[in-house]
């Protein structure tokens, strides 16, 4: 176990000792203090990607994946024993990495400030083992352009960056990082930093975490850090005790039974997306709308439900799926329906001393689903309203409908009035329009910088209509 203020990690292939690490020191700031200034701060909240770095993570086969994350949101305490690669580590002038070469020669950099971050996000995709030609949703070389949706460029208009991405071939066998993928990944290393600014713990097991939490009931629970990192950077939040739980093996399981699918609360969303595949179509539709690849590589379901934001992206879909939350505490586990989990603005039934171990989705799933995120920008934006709908029809009538809503009240809610109005009724335009009117009266939407109250209310109504016309109209009429 690392102790006191120091830890060891690997940067660009070299072992480095990080001294005097504080619990709130971000990887970005530490790297820059080391002179690795290729890593840039553009926003300090995981929105721009200028600080992207590669981290080595376990894959599902015992090997290693290289994934991109925002260094501004990674706390140094999380990195004991870990491996990080920055743009500087990929290549240098005169010996450019293929990603760097393609960007440079195609005009992919103008001011250059965002460029190291783009290089890193592109490198992650370059090394993604599943990347293959012919994938219909991706470039001709299998490059998933959405892998770059968390990187902002204010100069180029993106076209040359896309061209560079689509020009990349497979890494040659001699490529060191490509070879690194078949070797054992670094494992989460139990850590305890004790500093005048507070304590940082990374326990090794769930039992240890629960014990720590019993001693420090007010401790900040840290999973992917994509929310807490923003608090630390932008609002200068500080915690006396931080407990990192995302590496706990008990939170990293994915269990499939006849009755439910259980998703470990510590799995990041990219892992879930990959491992679930097509099993839950609503989640599959939803994943790309959750922030960016950079964020999904860190963010967890446990974290998204733990912060209990009314505009969190996961509650609407999980409410529509009638999911429940498995809470672990000193007395063991309990399961709470998500519909009863939220009690007020950023308030939940989770007791001090408890943590979210998993999320359970009951089976069978409703056969027709839809997810609608209303935002200014198509991807990587915070929703003004989100709506998820799960529908089961029987003989043209509604057997079961669940509507999860975000952004219209102090907590995520269900569209109960519309659900009730539709249940047992024929699924036709007249009935759906009546229900949509009711849906438009749900909650107490706000006027703010994202959207007006009137638009939010209109969108509740419109998303049900959109679902009707685009997801079910053909089936019912045809």
């Amino acid at each position: 176990m690392s102790n006191s203020h120091a830890l060891t990690l690997t940067i660009n292939g070299q072992s480095r000792s990080a001294e005097n690490v504080r619990p709130h020191t971000t990887l970005l700031n530490w790297l820059r203090d080391q002179g690795l200034t290729g890593c840039k701060e553009g926003c300090a909240e995981g929105e721009c990607g200028a600080c992207a770095v590669l981290v080595a993570r376990p894959d599902e086969q015992g090997g290693t994946r290289l994934e991109s994350v925002n260094a501004c949101l990674v706390l140094m305490g999380s990195l004991a024993g870990q491996e990080v690669v920055t743009a500087e580590g990929l290549g240098r002038p005169g010996a450019l990495h293929p990603v760097q070469h393609e960007l440079a020669v195609r005009g992919g950099s103008q001011c250059g400030y965002c460029t190291p971050g783009f290089v890193v996000s592109m490198a992650a995709e370059y090394y993604r083992p599943e990347r293959a030609a012919g994938d219909a949703h991706h470039g001709p070389n299998g490059f998933d352009i959405h892998a770059l949706s968390g990187n902002l460029c204010r100069c180029t208009g993106y076209r040359p960056i896309q061209d560079a991405a689509y020009a990349l071939e497979a890494p040659p066998l001699s490529d060191g990082l490509a070879q690194r993928r078949s070797q054992t990944p670094p494992t989460p290393q139990p850590t305890h930093l004790s500093t005048p600014d507070g304590d940082f713990h990374r326990p090794g097991t769930l039992a240890e975490a629960v014990e720590l939490l019993a001693v420090h009931p007010d401790a900040k629970l840290l999973a992917g850090g994509t929310d807490w990192g923003v608090e630390v950077n932008l609002r200068h939040a500080r915690a006396g005790v931080t407990i990192a739980v995302d590496g706990l093996p008990e939170l990293r399981t994915l269990t499939l039974t006849d009755q439910f699918i259980e998703l470990g609360a510590g799995l990041n969303l990219s892992e879930l997306e990959r491992r679930l595949g097509h099993r839950v179509p609503l989640l599959r539709e939803w994943f790309p709308h959750f922030a960016s690849r950079l964020i999904r590589n860190s963010a967890t379901l446990g974290g998204n439900l733990g912060t209990a934001s009314p505009i969190g992206d996961s509650p609407p879909v999980l409410l529509a799926l009638e999911a429940s939350v498995v809470l672990a505490g000193p007395q063991g586990e309990r399961e709470v329906a998500l519909a009863e989990y939220f009690t007020g603005y950023r308030q939940t039934v989770r007791q001090p001393g408890e943590l979210i171990r998993a999320v359970r989705i009951p089976l069978p799933l409703a056969p027709i689903t839809g997810f609608y995120k209303i935002a200014k920008r198509r991807f990587d934006d915070i929703s003004s309203v989100a709506s998820a709908i799960a529908l089961e029809l029987e003989g043209g009538a509604v057997k079961r409908i669940r509507i999860g809503l975000g952004g219209v009240a102090a907590t995520p809610i269900r569209g109960l009035k519309a659900e009730a109005a539709l249940t047992g009724q024929v699924w036709n335009e007249k009935n759906v329009r009546l229900a949509a009117k009711l849906l438009g009266t749900e909650g107490t939407p706000l006027d703010d910088h994202r959207a007006s109250r009137a638009y939010r209310a209109a969108m509740l109504e419109q998303t049900l209509l959109k679902f009707f016309f685009e997801r079910t109209n053909q089936e019912v009429l045809g």
Binding site: E88, Q110, P116, V119, R154, V230, K376, R377, H449
Partner: protein
């Protein structure tokens, strides 16, 4: 050879990557804030930002800050040895006693770490007397809160023009500003160097003005202050005026503590403290003849200048000078005025008022076309300037025929007519999804409206080994200026690109520089570099002529070789010639200078020839709008733009594409929202972070993006026949907005004017199409 003629061989015109591309991609390119780790004893500056839009500062007790561990000093007004002013108009106190906008910095804390400086700022006790605040253009107009001059652009007699009109329409249009959101926030690093001078690294588009402001704040002469700008992580106009005060704070701190001081704004500080593109309000009345020809335009443009004047006057002047865009308007009267509001002081932003002026006329044409029974594209085209016509401010529209040429070429290349028919079919069969297609033109005047700025200097050194080092007064913010300047120097001296190195912009090398702005960087600095190179080459030609036994006029410099005309095999290497020339006591370096000829401008009368030439372009955009949500996709964009004969095509294409996407961001996505309520946070910027102020990302890139430069477009009188490129393409994005208008209108009956708010966010588009749908509903009901 004249300025615009190109030698048969030379690096100018080659599609070379950015000169720093290899440094960019490897993370080795250094920006101002990357330099701090190299310095010992570095101090970090942090502002105390006032939480009121307008207030009197009653008390400032900074003593508690000094009790915070790590805090070294607090800077306030009493510390200023020179003038307490950060602007050139003397209306921007560096340390204010009257808070003029929410977030105004009243003092700065210096500490060993940024965290300590922040905690120090939080410890300061400040007391304010809250004063009434003016926030919107409407409030400012009602309160007659204006600043600066109120120019009128006038030609002909508008009442006569309206008498001649068959159709007269009136309207109003208010549209939003734009945050620059350069990825690198404002930054400065200052220290007293080994020679005792104040040395400042600054992320500034205008090093000379930064130098002047620092000098007057410190009570020094300009010769005692040097400002260097290595490169900027984006500028877009946002670093033309805004960096000065931050550089002055760092320099003041360094002077008072004897330690280097780093000041770097975080994103929220940058968003809440620095100026943005001006929002505008327009009230207009327009007349058309029977065939849709413009007869008269009368308008009042009110810009929101924020709390101080900054560049609001020239921005307004450029808006007035671009309200005609590509159209001949025989009778015109446009009044401009600048509102003074309690917001950030709005400033230069790519286009500099041009986009605002052009948006007004394009909005008018887009709204009025259905009322005239015309396609918007036809209405636009029939009003184009014809050769021989002049702008309302009296400047002949040179190369007006290029407008028609660009337009026709683009209509064909984009298959406009066929796609318009396809879209009609698509819209008729899709009740919930509509597409829109639009084409819009750009005519943009190049040169600073402020005539004195149209000059530049350069310093070119040829060393004895034949290597070349160039300095010039322009700054690099990503636009590729340095790349172009290396190409110009290599071409002018006839050496390979790799022989030319460019040294960072600094005020002790080339003095009295103009801002790198108004798209003029390459025109002006290229002219100066070429002048310096030509001087050196003339001296070298004399030496070579002696050695080769030919007349100096018959010596050719090409790709590192120097030879007699027609005999490339008989020459010598450039390096050998340089070596010999040195021993013959030849001056191997030169200072170059350029000023744009033929400009004159009467600011009061708004008449003259303020521009060297016009840049032309046009764009076609196709969008698809979801009738349920108002969300849309930009399916395809086709751009054709005139950059003269491109100095550097890869760079120029990048400028055109980037400008277009940035313009589309302004018009569709980017929304600045201030708290205009009467609550405790009145005046606070609500969109003050990257999570609330959204830039275009990959998803906003056109799904098909065809970009071309106008061919055979030599511009005589400009360096190597090129034209400026920085700003004009931004306005190509107006076609995106017009396409959205078309798509929204398609939800309703034809022939009605479709209004659309700006920015046209999904919400704005939803309300526009809802209105169209409701009118259709009423029409259907009436028919029943």
């Amino acid at each position: 050879m004249s300025l615009f003629e190109r030698p048969p061989l030379g690096a100018v015109g080659d599609a070379v990557p950015h000169e720093s591309a290899d440094l960019h991609v490897t993370g080795q390119a250094l920006y101002t804030d990357d330099l701090g780790v190299r310095l010992q004893g570095l101090l970090h500056a942090w502002p105390l930002q006032a939480p009121h839009a307008h207030a009197r500062l009653l008390k400032l007790d900074t003593a508690p800050a000094l009790n915070v561990p790590g805090v070294v000093r607090v800077l306030s007004a009493a510390d200023v040895p020179g003038v307490n002013d950060a602007g050139v108009k003397h209306d921007e106190p560096l340390f204010p006693t009257e808070v003029m906008f929410y977030g105004h910095a009243v003092c700065w804390v210096l500490a060993d770490s940024a965290d300590a400086a922040r905690l120090g700022a939080e410890a300061i006790q400040a007391e304010y007397e809250v004063l009434p605040a003016v926030l919107t253009i409407a409030e400012a107009v009602a309160a007659e809160s204006f600043q600066g001059s109120q120019p009128t652009l006038r030609r002909g007699d508008v009442s006569l023009g309206f008498e001649q009109a068959a159709h007269i329409f009136e309207g109003e249009f208010e549209f939003g500003g734009q945050e620059h959101f350069y990825l690198e926030t404002n930054a400065a690093l200052a220290y007293t160097d080994e020679s005792g001078q104040m040395f400042i690294q600054s992320s500034t588009q205008h090093p000379t003005e930064t130098q002047e402001i620092v000098a007057h704040v410190l009570g020094l002469t300009s010769s005692q202050v040097t400002v260097q700008c290595l490169r900027m992580g984006g500028g877009f106009g946002g670093k033309e005026m805004q960096p000065h005060g931050f550089a002055a704070i760092a320099a003041l701190g360094a002077t008072l503590t004897g330690r280097p001081v780093r000041l770097r704004l975080n994103r929220t500080q940058d968003l809440t403290m620095t100026g943005k593109r001006h929002p505008f309000h327009a009230r207009w009345k327009v007349g058309f003849d029977e065939s849709g020809g413009l007869t008269a335009l009368q308008a009042t443009l009110s810009s929101d200048g924020g709390w101080s004047l900054d560049l609001s006057e020239p921005v307004l002047a450029r808006a007035l000078c671009h309200i005609d865009n590509a159209y001949f308007i025989p009778h015109i009267e446009v009044l401009g005025r600048i509102c003074k509001t309690n917001k950030t002081s709005q400033t230069a932003f790519r286009g500099f008022g041009g986009p605002q002026g052009m948006l007004v006329i394009e909005d008018i044409l887009g709204r009025c076309a259905p009322l005239l029974g015309l396609e918007a594209a036809d209405l636009r085209q029939r009003n184009f300037y014809a050769p021989g016509e002049a702008t309302p401010y009296g400047q002949p529209v040179r190369h007006a025929e290029r407008l028609q040429g660009v337009w026709q070429t683009l209509l064909q290349k984009s298959e406009f007519a066929a796609r318009q028919a396809e879209i009609r079919t698509f819209n008729a069969s899709n009740p919930h999804t509509k597409r829109g297609l639009a084409i819009t033109p750009v005519k943009f005047g190049i040169s600073f409206n402020f005539t004195a700025y149209n000059q530049a200097g350069a310093l070119v050194h040829v060393y004895k080994d034949g290597s070349v080092l160039i300095n010039h007064g322009g700054t690099e913010m990503g636009q590729g200026l340095h790349t172009k300047m290396i190409q110009v120097a290599a071409t002018a001296l006839g050496v390979p690109l790799k022989c030319v190195r460019l040294a960072p912009t600094r005020t002790d090398k080339v003095p009295n520089t103009s801002a790198t702005a108004a798209s003029s960087g390459a025109d002006l600095n290229g002219g100066a570099i070429k002048d310096a190179c030509d001087q050196i080459k003339e001296r070298l030609a004399a030496v070579a002529a002696g050695a080769l036994g030919v007349h100096p006029n018959d010596v050719r410099f090409e790709n590192g070789r120097v030879y007699p005309l027609g005999h490339p095999d008989q020459g010598m290497d450039f390096a050998k010639l340089v070596h010999d020339a040195y021993h013959l006591r030849t001056q191997l370096w030169a200072a170059g200078y350029y000023r744009t000829p033929g400009l004159h401008w009467d600011r009061a009368a708004m008449q003259g020839e303020p521009f060297k030439y016009f840049s032309y372009g046009a764009s076609v955009s196709e969008v698809e709008v979801d009738g349920f949500t108002g969300a849309y996709r930009l399916l395809r964009a086709d751009l054709l733009h005139d950059v003269g004969d491109s100095l550097s095509p890869l760079i120029d294409i990048g400028q055109v594409e980037g400008g277009f996407v940035q313009g589309a961001g302004w018009l569709t996505l980017e929304e600045l929202r201030w708290d205009t309520s009467n609550g405790p946070h009145r005046g606070r910027l609500a969109t003050q972070s990257a999570s609330t102020y959204k830039l275009p990302s990959f998803s906003e890139m056109p799904e098909t993006f065809n970009v071309a430069l106008l061919e055979q477009a030599t511009e005589d009188g400009v360096v190597y026949g090129s034209k400026a490129v920085g700003e004009p393409p931004l306005m190509l994005a107006i076609s995106v907005r017009e396409a959205l208008r078309q798509a929204a209108a398609a939800f309703g009956p034809s022939g009605r004017p479709q209004q659309l708010a700006s920015p046209a966010t999904p919400e704005a588009v939803f309300w526009a199409l809802e209105e169209a749908r409701q009118v259709r509903g009423e029409v259907v009901a009436a028919d029943d």
